[in-house]
Amino acid sequence: MPDTLPAPALPIGHYGYDQVDRAFLADRVEQFRDQVARRIAGTLSEDEFKPLRLMNGLYLQLHAYMLRIAVPYGVLDSRQLRELAHIARTYDRDYGHFTTRQNLQFNWIRLEDTPDILARLADVDMHAIQTSGNCIRNVTCDQFAGAAQDELVDPRVHAEILRQWSTLHPEFTFLPRKFKIAISGSPNDRVAARFHDIGLVAKPAPDGGTQFDVFVGGGMGRTPIVGVHLRDDLPEEDLLAYLEAMVRVYNEYGRRDNIYKARIKILVQALGTEGYRQKVDAEFAAMNRARYRLPPETVAAIRARFGTPDLHAPDDAAAQLDRARRADPVFDRWVRTNTHPHRAPGYISAVISLKPAGGIPGDATSAQMDLVADLADRHAFGEIRVTHMQNLVLGHVRQDELHVVWQALRGAGLASANIGLIGDIIACPGLDYCALANARSIPIAQKLGARFASPELQETIGPIEIKISGCINACGHHHAGHIGILGVDKKGEEYFQLTLGGSPGSDASVGQILGPALPEDATVDAIARLVDAYLVHRAGGERFLDTYRRLGAALFKDAVYATA
């Protein structure tokens, strides 16, 4: 693959649209404008209009319309983030909500404003297409892609190729159910690849090119399943052909008679790994491989539409960071918890927690978005990443500038030192916003965040992942939480079921139900007792998950239900 230097105007970290892309989006906005006008005039019924608005990311939720905007592979540029802030300020209630699909949702949108909002998004090369519906959704990616020290292949170019392949793919617009793909280029799984319909891990091939590990049939929801490893040697040139075959088999054999059995995970379980593999291989063998081949020149052409950062830090950048850490213990703690090693000397990746103690996980005000955009421009090549943990990342920060970045974040309430700790909770919008939810997720997250607010306490407890879903659809990933919390409805009242032992990573596992669901007012205390039990019984520096795996559920069950 040639090293093509991109034009300076290209955005850092994501694909730069060309005129064809922009013309398409402009047409699409006008098409939707006409559909909205016809709906308001009554020439389109709600039943006719609903699939059209969903194809443009517009849901009708509990209190208002919700617009879900795609952030391809979780990468934004500062211009785009500022536009999102503007939309929040002008058309919504001055905030946005970052989601576990690395997207952004606005909760208070007016139908009649939506075409204008989509036009504004199109002006900054964004849209809401395929953020809903039974199609291939936004491809998610490692938040440290292109920056992480442990990365073997930068997966964003392939994520973009998958985005282009799957966008308005005529064969895959009406799949049996929604379809989610995640891609990573690190052996340390930070994308929950094994919990996706298809999970891809890019790695170097023996010939010097790129190949992929392929996982299939993972998922959460009503039937949580860890995906099976389909192959470990998918060549780059066959990436699209093989995925086309995989989705075709699903499209043909996936169940359409029962919404609860329609995801690919059910098909893979029904056919067995070998059965599914044989059908995919047969489809693959029958395909016109030349048509679907992904040649190195195409990959290079897509890569050339990405801006790349010019990484040159002063020789003493690391020493300057060390001095700042020694001088300021609060900053030192934040660096310990909220940064990730960078591949380039003198650089570091900084995670901006959107989980202030007692706050709403994933929410950011328009002023905070503007501030992060400014910081990105000054210190991170104008690039921002959204994580599936509902935080933001500045991927490429010079170590000698990190203290300045932290001070600015701190002034805006964005410097919680809790990444990977008990305060770093995933929570879906839950019953406060979502029409499908059975129970509220956010208040439980807020109470837990406040209960464990102390940064010292959080570091003492160590790495632990709490994930909360307000219904069995599991948008809050509770099945993959070390501690999962599922809201259930009992005769119109909220109860919460705990699961333990889930993990989204390379050691993926599904959490197991601990016992009967708890009333809302007993749930936070029960989790506090559970954490206390862990602190008593953990050996050495083991994580909560390790203690659970070593000792089993009994002692935690005793702790939760002893006084409940």
């Binding site: 709906r39 308001i40 009554g42 019924s45 709600e46 009708l60 939720q61 509990l62 209190h63 208002a64 319309y65 209630r93 949108i109 007016r110 139908l111 009649e112 709403i360 019953l431 406060d432 916003y433 029409a435 939810a437 059975n438 129970a439 509220r440 956010i442 208040p443 807020q446 409805d489 119109g492 009242e493 909220e494």
Partner: protein, 112 residues
């Protein structure tokens, strides 16, 4: 939005009728024929013996009234003002619990 969970009605109870406004999606409660309010306190209380007919009438007018998703919500029998029996409908009526400033009453006041 209509939901199977909202079909749980006790024969001896009462309900109110709700919908979302088409243009902005906001929740409204039926006050009278073709009259709707964002405040559940204003809602017309209907015995459950008559609620299905009333929902059918409101549904038939929903495009004309600029509404979507008309349905009935059972309320507590012993409250002076209408209070839905389920958490879900109480949140719809009084706003997201995580934003006390977003209640329908506060919104009306802000725009007064």
């Amino acid at each position: 939005m209509s939901d199977v969970r909202n079909n749980r009605r006790e024969a001896g109870g009462s309900s109110v009728i709700t919908a979302n406004r088409l243009l902005d999606g906001r929740i409204v409660w039926q006050v009278g024929e073709a009259a709707w309010s964002t405040l559940i306190d204003d809602a017309r209380i209907i015995p459950n013996t008559q609620i299905e007919a009333a929902i059918a009438q409101a549904t038939a007018r929903q495009q004309e009234d600029g509404l979507v998703g008309v349905y009935g919500v059972q309320i507590e029998s012993d409250d002076a003002t209408p209070t839905p029996v389920t958490v879900r409908e109480r949140i719809r009526a009084f706003g997201p619990t995580v934003h006390p400033d977003f209640t329908p009453a506060a919104e009306l006041e802000a725009h007064a």
